[in-house]
Symmetry: C2
Subunit: 231 residues, 2 copies
């Protein structure tokens, strides 16, 4: 049983709490029994850790586990996972242009998974998807999707999908948008919406008709659109 924080494995795991090490190592951590088994199913689990003595698990002390985890609740298992990225694109693509809130990012992953948007393009300026809060709120959807990363404008120019923005100005009401076979939806930042550069591409925009002039939470608005084009 590992009980020392100086153990080299533990030191490596602790480093992975930082985004830059995750990127460098192409590895990340998931917390909790459910996510560890989802990671195993997805074939991305490198090593599993437990506070109990179990086959195929590296045992660590409760103090070490607590140090490794980000939640206040007691976590019994933890998984070290490898990042995977395939270059092939699904017919339905979700493009995130600066979504910053981990909860929104995780919720959007769940919705993308539920409605068949299997490729998510994570634009520069979005929150790190391997952040523990994102992983937690994704509820395992993170293992079922393919992620690509980079500049949204550059990516959009390479697509032969019909690409829609979600700028409310001059938008087409959601129910009136034609259901294309190959479609990509761009969602913007919580506060500022879609970036100027992306708006400058002159894409068609979708909007969701609402009473008053209220806006919706970006995960909610995005999910309603994914639902309409979904499955």
């Amino acid at each position: 049983m590992i009980s020392s924080m100086d153990n080299s494995k533990i030191k490596t795991l602790l480093k992975l709490k930082q985004s830059k090490y995750r990127k460098q190592e192409q590895e990340f951590i998931v917390e909790g029994t459910h996510l560890v088994s989802e990671a195993r199913l997805a074939n991305v689990l490198i090593e599993a850790y437990s506070i109990e003595e179990k086959d195929e698990y590296i045992q660590v002390s409760e103090a070490v586990m607590k140090k490794l985890c980000n939640t206040d609740t007691v976590v019994k298992e933890l998984g070290l996972c490898r990042m995977l990225s395939k270059s092939n694109l699904s017919d339905k693509i979700l493009i995130l242009d600066g979504v910053q809130d981990p909860g929104n990012m995780g919720s959007l992953m769940r919705s993308a998974c539920a409605f068949g948007f299997d490729t998510i393009f994570i634009g520069t300026g979005s929150v790190d998807i391997y952040n523990d809060k994102v992983i937690r709120s994704s509820q395992g959807a993170i293992f079922k999707l393919n992620f690509l990363f980079g500049n949204v404008c550059d990516f959009v120019k390479t697509l032969n999908h019909k690409v829609y923005g979600t700028n409310v100005v001059n938008g087409i009401p959601l129910k009136e948008v034609r259901k294309e076979e190959k479609i990509a939806i761009i969602l913007g930042n919580e506060g500022n919406g879609i970036s100027k550069e992306v708006n400058a591409l002159g894409l068609d925009n979708i909007f969701i008709p609402m009473r008053n002039t209220e806006s919706l939470n970006v995960a909610v608005a995005g999910s309603i659109i994914l639902y309409e084009f979904g499955i």
Copy 2:
């Protein structure tokens, strides 16, 4: 300018950080210029506080303001508000049976407001809607809705609305549900869904068709349903 934490007004405001005092006094606090002006528009603003010298504001020191607020960011204005509750019901009602996450609660308020569900029934066991995180994520929607509180089963029995649960077992696919004029939608707890007592009422259930067996975030699922019945 008030600079002492011992000032009686400040002491009262500090007490309102606790749910039980909010309930007792029927008052709550909102943070930030935007929410203070929304509260004023909604005619529920009792007093406004600012770190600057301004007409119709009680000036407080920055240290006092920091103590009163729950965010790390600098807040310039704060409003003391009264709770309002009207007994009349809108044609569309959202019923929350144990929604616990403040972000979900706030998002659902925004969606309810956007899609015309002007009455929200907050069932026992749901998060306190006057919690600062709920108010923040409601983005002002909290001032445009009417809230009722109590036991969900008791409330449902008094309604002549068509009431739908959202238990996925034996549910009707959302797109096939008849659009009734008077409708109420019940959403359950993040982890456990709708409570046993409510399920025992034998209501019709709605479900959102999804690939795999993934579930959606409750604010997302709820908002998709409100959208379908909306405006």
